[in-house]
Symmetry: C2
Subunit: 198 residues, 2 copies
């Protein structure tokens, strides 16, 4: 959210939610959009019988319910899955800022466009069924400029989640690639070997 002007951040407020606490409910008039600072929020719809269907589950640092800007009512529930902190941006204030400051509007567009890009890439990734191919795909796309070094941020478990694999599957696949000499590993980096690209 580094693209936001100070003024907008100052005009926002932070709210803390306990587990299962609602940020908004279906049918509520849209009052704002959110940034998840800490914790996790879900968008949930309820069936007539009260069963929950999760539409979306947020990550820390992401925008939440930004599409609500262009609606009058929320059309699902926003619920905290864990203890969560959200920054609340007032809808009218956001729009006013956009009109005042076209550059801000462009920044927001850029953020959304980037999101779309990332999400589409992720979806493409998930369409690869084989753990091996999915991992290779990920490695190649997240390699640095040299095209061979992939920095490991966070734990392998986290990576497994990001890739939509169980951690066991990831460990095994990675070990196999290593044994076959397709990659080399250190604690912080994966080095892609030429063979991998053939």
């Amino acid at each position: 959210m580094d693209w936001l002007p100070r003024s907008m951040i100052n005009a926002s407020r932070v709210r803390t939610l306990g587990i299962d606490e609602h940020l908004f409910r279906k049918g509520d008039t849209v009052f704002g959009i959110f940034e998840v600072i800490k914790g996790r929020l879900s968008m949930v719809r309820h069936t007539s019988e009260g069963q929950k269907v999760v539409i979306h589950s947020s990550l820390e640092g992401s925008l939440f319910a930004e599409a609500a800007l262009f609606a009058t009512e929320y059309h699902c529930d926003g619920v905290a899955v864990e203890e969560t902190e959200v920054r609340v941006f007032d809808k009218d204030a956001v729009f006013a800022a956009f009109r005042d400051n076209p550059e801000l509007a462009e920044n927001f567009m850029a953020v959304l466009a980037r999101q779309v890009q990332v999400l589409r890439a992720k979806l493409e990734q998930r369409s690869i069924r084989s753990a091996r191919q999915r991992l290779i795909h990920h490695f190649i796309l997240s390699a640095e400029e040299d095209g061979r070094t992939v920095p490991l941020k966070g734990t392998l478990k986290d990576l497994a989640v990001e890739l939509g694999l169980t951690h066991e599957a990831l460990y095994r696949t990675l070990a196999k690639l290593e044994k076959e000499g397709l990659v080399e590993r250190s604690a912080t980096v994966v080095l892609l070997q030429p063979k991998l690209f053939i």
Copy 2:
């Protein structure tokens, strides 16, 4: 693209691409963004050894490379996978239009925000591994107001593709749900039965 003013559409041009023909290449200066009218485009990156990695594959009717609006260079190749028709919107013209017409900018934001919403929902759906649960999830979310009727648009094969399943898996799963009395089917509609929601 119904939110675009006539003037923008008139200012655009349509281009036809043959299979494997490039719309743009990595490093090219961004000249515009696109709407896929017919056919399919892919965003592709090449490894140092020349292997292709697909980042994204477009659907008909969708925007393509809209994130490029906020970059100076394309950072992957845009290639036609089939015989493809694209509408080309000049980058500068788009920006000029946004500045001239804040409402247009807002419309564009709304389109992007909606995209993000849809993509996130799809990603959530794909995170459900079981064909059965994925199908049920889809049914419940795409039910009409009554919460029980799901219209079937297109063939079941198409639905299978949308859900990321083979058509065989879809047929079988659907048949099973039907046999268990969880849904009823006609040619055009799936009726969700109360049992399904328990």
